[in-house]
C-alpha cells in the first residue's frame, strides 16, 4: 500500500490571537495508506470533525504540512484545493448534505457538473451505474425529501463515490439512522474500503468503528492510536 495522506505538525486554531481562541487541532502528525479504512473517535468538541474538514480541504489549517497523494496541499491555491476536493475526495455526512427538493438523479449527478470534461450523456450512465452498485437504481426519479434516512444516506454515498474519489470522508454517517440501517450502511462502507478506496469515518460509536481497519482517538486536538 502507498501513502495517501500525510500530515506533519498540523494545527488548526480558531479565532487565533483573540480572547476566544480555540485550538481544535494541536500539532497533529497523521498518515493514511491508500485503501486503508480508519475510524476517528473522540468526545464532542475533541477536534475529530475539524480533522476531517482539514483532510477534506473544506477548512484551512493554521500551520503544518499536509500531503495528499504526495502533493503539497499546504502550498495549493484555492482553485487547486477545490479541484482536489472535487476530484479526489467524497463526503458523506450525518445530515446527508443533499438537496431534498431535487431528484436522486440530480443529486448524484451534481458532482459531475463541477468536473472538467464530463459529458452529460456520460453522466446519466454513470449515475445509473453508481445507483445500481448500491441497489437503489429504482429511486433515481424520486425526490430526496420522499426517501427514508437509510435511503438518503445511500444516495449521499452514491454522490460521494460517483467521481471515483481516492478517499471517502464520513462524518457520523450513521448518527441519524436506526441500528439496522446503520449496520447496513457500515457494511457498505466496509465494502467500499475493500474495493481499494480509503475511508475515514468520524464516529463516537465503538460498534461502528469496528467496521474500519484502524481506529485513532482524538482528545483536545491531539491524536493517539
Amino acid at each position: 500500500m502507498s501513502e495517501l495522506i500525510r500530515m506533519n505538525n498540523v494545527s488548526k486554531i480558531y479565532n487565533k490571537g483573540k480572547s476566544n481562541e480555540v485550538v481544535a487541532l494541536d500539532s497533529v502528525d497523521f498518515t493514511l495508506e491508500r485503501g486503508e479504512s480508519l475510524a476517528v473517535m473522540g468526545v464532542s468538541g475533541s477536534g475529530k470533525s475539524t480533522l476531517l474538514n482539514v483532510i477534506g480541504c473544506m477548512d484551512n489549517m493554521t500551520s503544518g504540512e499536509y500531503y495528499f497523494d504526495g502533493k503539497e496541499v499546504h502550498n495549493m491555491n484555492d482553485n487547486e484545493i477545490a479541484r482536489l476536493r472535487g476530484d479526489k475526495i467524497g463526503f458523506v455526512l450525518q445530515s446527508y448534505g443533499l438537496l431534498p427538493s431535487e431528484s436522486v438523479m440530480s443529486n448524484v449527478e451534481m458532482p459531475l457538473y463541477f468536473m472538467k470534461g464530463s459529458s452529460m450523456k456520460d453522466a446519466k450512465r454513470r449515475v445509473y451505474t453508481t445507483l445500481e452498485s448500491l441497489g437503489i437504481e429504482e429511486l433515481a426519479k424520486r425526490k430526496v425529501k420522499t426517501l427514508s434516512g437509510g435511503q438518503r444516506q445511500r444516495v449521499a454515498i452514491a454522490r460521494a463515490i460517483i467521481k471515483d474519489p481516492d478517499i471517502i470522508l464520513a462524518d457520523e454517517p450513521t448518527g441519524a439512522l436506526d441500528s439496522e440501517t446503520a449496520k447496513n450502511t457500515m457494511e457498505l462502507f466496509a465494502e467500499i474500503a475493500k474495493s481499494g478506496k480509503s475511508v475515514i469515518m468520524v464516529t463516537h460509536d465503538v460498534n461502528m468503528a469496528k467496521y474500519m481497519n484502524r481506529t485513532v482517538y482524538i482528545k483536545d486536538g491531539k491524536i493517539s492510536n
Binding site: 484555492d78 472535487g86 445530515s95 446527508y96 448534505g97 431534498p100 451534481m110 458532482p111 463541477f114
Partner: protein, 170 residues
C-alpha cells in the same frame, strides 16, 4: 450552461417571481418617468407619480427580501453543498451572477416586448422607449446591487457551518 440552469432551477418559483417583479418595476418606472416628464407642474400627476414611486420602491424591497433574505439559508446551504463538491467561492459567485443577470435580462426583454404593444401610437402618456430605456438602466443598477449582496453572502459565509447545518434548510 447546465451549471447555470442548476443555479436557476434550484429556486425556480422564486426566480420566476423575481423576473415578474423586475418586469413590473421596469414598467412602473418607465410610466413614472413618462408621466413626470409630460405632467410637469400638474399636481395630480406629481401625486400619482409619488404613489407609483412608493409602489415601485415596495416592489424593489420585496424583490430583495424574496431573493436574498427569505432564501438566504437555502442559498447558503446550496452554495455549501457546491463548495464541498469542488466549487470555489469565485465560481459560485460567477455562476450566481450569471443567473441574476439572466433573470434581469429576461425581465427586461419581456418589458421591451410589452412596451411597444402598450404604446403602439406613441401616446405621450404611455410609456415610451426613452423612458423605458432610463428605467432599464435603473433596473440594471439595482441588479448590480443584488449581485453585490450575493458577493457578501458568498464570500462571508462559513461554508462549513452551512454545509453541516443539514438539509432542513432546503
Amino acid at each position: 450552461m447546465k451549471k447555470v440552469l442548476m443555479y436557476f432551477k434550484k429556486d425556480i418559483a422564486v426566480n420566476l417571481f423575481v423576473i415578474f417583479e423586475l418586469f413590473v418595476v421596469t414598467l412602473l418606472m418607465g410610466f413614472i418617468i413618462a408621466m413626470g416628464s409630460y405632467g410637469k407642474g400638474d399636481k395630480e400627476v406629481v401625486t400619482l407619480c409619488a404613489y407609483l414611486g412608493v409602489v415601485t420602491a415596495i416592489l424593489l424591497v420585496m424583490t430583495t427580501i424574496t431573493d436574498k433574505v427569505v432564501n438566504k439559508e437555502k442559498n447558503r446551504y446550496f452554495y455549501s453543498v457546491c463548495f464541498s463538491l469542488g466549487e470555489t467561492k469565485n465560481s459560485i459567485f460567477i455562476m450566481n451572477t450569471v443567473k441574476t443577470v439572466l433573470i434581469t435580462a429576461v425581465a427586461l426583454i419581456i418589458t421591451w416586448i410589452i412596451v411597444p404593444i402598450m404604446d403602439p401610437y406613441g401616446d405621450q402618456f404611455l410609456i415610451k422607449n426613452k423612458e423605458t430605456a432610463i428605467a432599464t438602466f435603473i433596473v440594471i443598477g439595482y441588479t448590480a446591487l443584488l449581485i453585490a449582496l450575493d458577493a457578501v453572502i458568498i464570500y462571508y459565509s462559513d461554508m462549513l457551518k452551512d454545509f453541516h447545518g443539514g438539509n432542513d434548510n432546503e
